[in-house]
Symmetry: C2
Subunit: 344 residues, 2 copies
DNA sequence: ATTCTTGCTGAGAGCGCTCCCAAACGCCAG
DNA sequence: CTGGCGTTTGGGAGCGCTCTCAGCAAGAAT
């Protein structure tokens, strides 16, 4: 049975209040008393009871990481673990704890509780001080619940609601850079494999693609735009659909899809970059390891995760400021072999 | 301000106790009263306050997933996300919540709190009912803390302590099957790239390797045993060290290391499987996607995660049973192209 | 010497829930 | 009509903490 505040107080010969002041680093405790209390705390291994503290303070120091729906993608794409590491690191650094809420579809069928009910349950039960949402689709009900229940939250990815705080990378510019690079190399029939278009990141990257072509006066050929789902298989399938239209270059909106496309091309006997140029997006570690190494748009995935947490924490700890926070991180074109430029 | 039990009670014209009985599905409430209470709960969107409940019941319905030390590996190896999905699914299914504790080394230097202190803090503050530990090294201090503080826990992977519950796969048999397969194909100079030998999984797979050779009367050549670290780079480096000893086949203790080895071989101008046979371990999705597709030992990673959680929950909900629970899941040899047998 | 600060300490109430116990309420048998 | 019994209900205490407020001592100001 671990000791309580009360017991520590008795052992140190002071009152509960004083011990409470000591652990919460409040002033107005005589140094010698403070030291005596610390000594007892050390000896007993006392640690405040989280639930009791939460009940009194109405804060838990726990933030949630909610990853809805598209779970399948997330577990095949290296993006996710990297993002999570950023999140976890930032939590550790600020002494917050991380609650992970993953919802897979399978849960839906025959499960005692619907995903929707689960959201509500978690949010309303005040387990969490705030929430980071990643990779949600535009229509995900989680946003509705979050706003309704007034739970502070930060989205990793853009979201157009006046009360939505988010951290995003500049997907439009990133995609445009990628396509502009292909244009510069002389390509004109440039195809794109998009992400699922119910996600902003996918929409924005498509927008960047369009902008680059339009700026160059090249008309958009809708046949050269195929929707993928951010997975390798999806990329492979999309590439197959693209092949009849004979693009000379492809911009895939994620590295995993690019790798899938690579496979489809290889199966078709096409060489990259000799026969067709390929550019990805994300710069996951795998991108530099495939053959040919992937030219891609690097986004600071880990930083995205930690920034989201930092933002959320600053929101939690300065509730007076009603301002909405939005951060957009830059992307960077990483030129490797797959686009057909010799790398020195 | 969300409603409290008290308020729901007032609205339904009953006492706190009755509402509590309704929420906790206890008997001895008149059906009509029960229905009336439910109605109010529905209308108000009432959800019990987690902290208050925990304080009274001394349970949180939160379990921790602790992933110590070797974080780097974990974030490049697809093993980890798959395992986590199993864990998350099982939690969802049982209405438990998942707290994720990742500790990266970087945290160590200059951080306000040491990893050790963090463990203690989390465990002692009673945030968690129990803990699942994955991928720990043998000497990880977390085990000490867990045992000392009497926190129920389940390890994913073997651990030789009389009070340690674990879920593991049969690494010895799996490795032996892999090597026996290579023997059957006529190989005699079989090398192995082990995992970090301060992990049981690595030790056990090495043991399987040894058993297979010894059973066949082939002496162990220590030059053919090289320690890796479960990463692709590690596998690549290990393979390079192995090359001078000219093995005709290699058993890598993880798919990622096998893929690294593949790279090293290719760089050296060797073809797989023609010049050298290669077998991996894990059967991560990537294994079937590389060229040549990897022969490997499949372990039920996701099931490992969910079993660990199920075990832990059964421990938590039947505390009377003092028995130690140990589950060992079977592995399965998956024959693909990299070992040199034509797959029909 | 008296009042006013100021710094330190302790007591009490309360956070929202559970759980034990006693009271109230039938209902049936005697 | 009363006693006994099982079911249903309500009240109180308590889980371990924080936080406000009042008390107290000691030094500063009058």
């Amino acid at each position: 049975m671990p000791p309580t505040l009360e017991e520590v107080a008795k052992l140190a010969g002071v009152s509960r209040s004083t011990v409470s002041r000591v652990i919460n680093q409040q002033p107005n405790v005589r140094p010698e008393v403070r030291e005596r209390v610390w000594e007892v705390i050390r000896q007993t291994g006392y640690q405040p009871h989280a639930a009791a503290r939460s009940l009194a303070t109405r804060r838990t120091r726990v933030i949630g990481l909610v990853i809805p729906q598209a779970v399948t993608t997330l577990f095949t794409d290296p993006y996710f673990p990297i993002f999570m590491r950023g999140v976890a690191d930032a939590c550790n650094a600020h002494n917050y704890h991380l609650m992970l809420s993953l919802f897979s579809h399978r849960r839906a069928q025959g499960a005692p509780t619907s995903q929707d009910a689960l959201y509500q349950q978690i949010l309303r039960s005040r387990y969490l001080d705030g929430v980071v949402v990643s990779s949600a689709t535009l229509d995900d009900p989680v946003f509705h619940h979050l706003l309704e229940d007034g739970v502070p939250f930060v989205i990793a990815g853009r979201y157009p609601h006046e009360r939505a705080n988010y951290v995003d990378v500049d997907n439009v510019v990133g995609a445009r850079m990628a396509v502009e690079h292909l244009l510069r190399l002389g390509h004109e029939r440039i195809a794109t494999i998009t992400g699922p278009l119910n996600m902003f990141a996918a929409q924005d990257r498509l927008e960047g693609y369009r902008q680059a072509l339009t700026a160059r006066g090249i008309p958009i050929d809708e046949h050269l735009i195929v929707e993928g789902d951010f997975t390798e298989q999806g990329g492979q399938a999309a590439m197959k659909r693209l092949l009849p239209y004979r693009p000379t270059a492809v911009f895939a909106a994620s590295d995993m899809m690019a790798i899938g496309a690579l496979k489809a091309l290889r199966e078709d006997g096409l060489r990259v970059p000799e026969d067709i140029a390929l550019v990805g997006f994300d710069d996951v570690p795998l991108a530099s390891m495939v053959d040919p190494a992937l030219t891609t748009v690097r986004q600071p995935i880990e930083q995205l995760g930690s920034m989201a947490v930092e933002l959320l924490i600053s929101l939690l700890e300065n509730p007076q400021r009603e301002t909405v926070h939005r951060v957009v991180l830059p992307t960077e074109l990483v030129i490797r072999a797959s686009c057909g430029v010799r790398v020195r």
